[in-house]
Assembly symmetry: C2
Homo-oligomer: 309 residues x 2
DNA sequence: CAAGCTTATAGAATATATCTATATTAGAGC
DNA sequence: GCTCTAATATAGATATATTCTATAAGCTTG
C-alpha cells in the first residue's frame, strides 16, 4: 500500500471515473487502474463496483477511502510543517464563496492578500452553500466563506464577522418615509427575493416569517443582489441587502437605505474547512486579510443573535 | 514521499540507530539510509543529525516524525477496517503491565483470550508505569494495563476496574487482633514496601502519609508482592496488598488479611493507549476478557475515590 | 445490436528499491 | 592525538515496481 495508490483511489471516488481521475492525477488510465487493482489485491477487498456506470465505491470501499482521505491529510500536514519552518506561505488555496458575499468582500481582500503572499495561488469559485459543503467534504475546496451555522459535524467553522441586513426601499414605497424599520414593517408582497438555493433567501424569508403573503403579482427571483437593487431602483418595491453591499453606493442610493431598529437581523460569515484541516497558515492569513477589509464594528466576536441559514 | 520511507524515519527515531532500525524493518542498513536520504531530499530538510552518536532527530525532524507517526496510525487503521469487515480479530497486541497487577490478573485473562481469538498474537511485558508511558508514546506498546490517572495528555485511559487495598498482618503484630482497620492504625515502621519505581509503593505511602516514621531497623525494598507476603509470613510486620493478590490465598493466609473500613483505599486499573489509537477491536476484546475474570464488585464504574499514583 | 463510452490486459521502457561490498566518519579508549 | 571499533554513506548490480503505449473487453444507450 502506497500513498500514491491511496491518492488514486480517492481520486476515483471524487471523480467517479477512472479516466477523469487518471487525468487529474497526471497519469494514464491504465496506470491508475493497475494501481487500484494492486491496492485492492493488497487489502483483499474490492474498493469499487465497476459494473455500475459511473463507478461507485463498494460499501467497504467507502470506509477505506474515508480513512485514506485522513491519511492523505496527514501527509499534506508534513509538507506544511516544512513550509512553515521555511517561514514561507506557499501553495494553492481553493476557496468557495457564496454569491451574496463574494462581490462585496473578495475584491477588497484579494489585492492585499496576493501582494503579501505572492507564492500563494488563489482559486476562487462562487457556489451555493450546499455545493461548498459537498466540495469541502471531499477535498475539492480547501475552505469556504459562507453564512453559518451549518450544523455539519465533519466541517469546522471559524466565525469571522457579523453582517447586518438592511432594507433598500424605493421612493414610492410607504416605508420610504420611515427613518428606521422593524421587521414587522416589511410587506412580503413588496419584497424582491433571490433564487431558491441562496441561503440569504431563506434568511430574508425568516425575517418576515410572521408575515402572510396576499399573493404576488410578479415573482422575479434573481441570482444577484445587484439585480435586486436595480429592481428597486427601476420598479419600486423593497428588498433586503447585506450591509457590505452598501459600500459603493451613491448618495442617491444611500437615500433609499433604511436600517433596522435593534436587534438588527444579521448573519454570521465564517471560514469553513474540513475538520482534519490543512493549509492552516494560509487560511489564518486569509482570515487576517478579511478582518482588515471589513469595518471594525462587524468583527465583534461576541455571539450575536444570527439568523439561521 | 512513501509510507515506507516514513516508517524508516520513525524507526530511526524510535531506535536512535540506523543499523538497529534497519534490522527492525527487515532491510539492510544501506537500504534504510538511502530511503531516509531520499525522504530528506524530497522534503528539503535534514531529519537526523548523524554527527551525534547516537543519532538524534533535528528540531524539524522531531516535528516531521511526530506527524509521520500520525500518518502511519491512519494507515494501520485502514488495515483494521479490512479486518473488521472480515469479522476477524487478528494481529499482534503488545501489552505492557505493571508488576503489581500482572501476576494476579493476566494468568486469568490470557487463557480465555487466546482461545477466543486464536489469530491474535499477544506479547506481554512487565514494566514500570514510567516505562509503559514512554513506550506507548512511541508505539512500541499497543496498550498498557496500569494504575491511573496518569495525567498524560497524549495518552487515553479507559478505566476497567477498581481494586481495593487490604493489609496483611503477621500474628505478632498488635493489629492482628483488630477485625477491621482504618488507615490510621498503620504503623509505617512495621510496613514492608516495594521498590522505588513501583507506583503502588507511592500509593501505599500516601495511605500513611499522615504517619511519621521513627526510623526503620531494616529497609528491605522488594520488587514483588510475593516477597512482601513471605516477609510478613516469616518475619513479622505488616504489608499492604492489592485485593486481587488474595485470590489464591490459603485459609491460613486469609487469617492474616485485614480489610480497611470504608472508605477503603483503592486504585483504578485502566487500559491505556495512545490517543490516536489503533487495534480498537482487539483491545475491546481484551477489556471484555479482563472484566470477565475480575469479581463483579470491582467493575463498578462509578468514579470512586482512588489513590493518586 | 452497434456506437461510443469506460475499464482491463499485455508487453516494453523506465524508474525505484534493495542488496552486497566497501569507503568514510564519529566516538571511545589508551 | 592516534588507533580501534562501531556507525553511517556510497557504489554498482539486481530485482521489483511503476508507468507508458497499444489493444482488448465490458457497459450504456439509442
Amino acid at each position: 500500500m502506497t500513498i500514491v495508490q491511496l491518492e488514486y483511489a480517492v481520486a476515483v471516488d471524487t471523480y467517479r471515473s477512472f479516466v477523469l481521475a487518471a487525468e487529474k492525477c497526471f497519469v494514464t488510465q491504465p496506470t491508475l487502474s493497475m494501481q487500484i487493482q494492486k491496492l485492492e489485491e493488497h487489502l483483499g477487498v474490492k474498493l469499487f463496483d465497476r459494473s455500475r456506470q459511473p463507478v461507485v465505491p463498494t460499501e467497504i470501499g467507502i470506509e477505506v477511502i474515508e480513512q485514506a482521505r485522513k491519511l492523505l491529510n496527514e501527509s499534506y500536514k508534513i509538507k506544511e510543517i516544512i513550509d512553515e519552518r521555511k517561514g514561507e506561505i506557499v501553495g494553492e488555496l481553493k476557496i468557495g464563496v457564496i454569491p451574496t458575499v463574494a462581490p462585496y468582500l473578495l475584491p477588497r481582500v484579494i489585492g492585499g492578500f496576493m501582494e503579501k503572499y505572492p507564492k500563494v495561488t488563489l482559486t476562487i469559485s462562487e457556489f451555493t452553500t450546499e455545493n461548498i459543503i459537498q466540495q469541502l467534504k471531499i477535498g475539492l475546496l480547501d475552505c469556504g466563506i459562507l453564512a453559518t451555522p451549518l450544523d455539519e459535524n465533519t466541517l469546522f467553522e471559524r466565525p469571522v464577522f457579523y453582517e447586518n441586513f438592511v432594507s433598500y426601499v424605493s421612493k414610492t414605497s410607504p416605508l420610504f418615509k420611515k427613518k428606521a424599520l422593524t421587521t414587522n414593517d416589511l410587506d412580503i408582497d413588496e419584497l424582491w427575493l433571490l433564487n431558491e438555493g441562496h441561503c440569504m433567501r431563506n434568511q430574508v424569508l425568516s425575517i418576515c416569517k410572521h408575515k402572510k403573503s396576499n399573493g404576488h403579482q410578479l415573482n422575479y427571483n434573481t441570482g444577484s443582489i445587484e439585480t435586486l437593487i436595480k429592481m428597486v431602483d427601476l420598479n419600486n418595491g423593497i428588498t433586503i441587502l447585506p450591509e457590505l453591499s452598501l459600500q459603493d453606493f451613491s448618495v442617491k442610493q444611500m437615500d433609499k437605505v433604511r436600517y433596522f431598529k435593534s436587534p438588527e437581523p444579521s448573519r454570521e460569515i465564517s471560514i469553513v474547512t474540513n475538520k482534519n484541516f490543512i493549509k492552516k497558515r494560509i487560511i489564518d492569513a486569509l482570515e487576517t486579510e478579511i478582518l482588515n477589509s471589513v469595518p471594525k464594528r462587524m468583527k465583534s466576536k461576541k455571539k450575536k443573535e444570527v439568523l439561521d441559514i
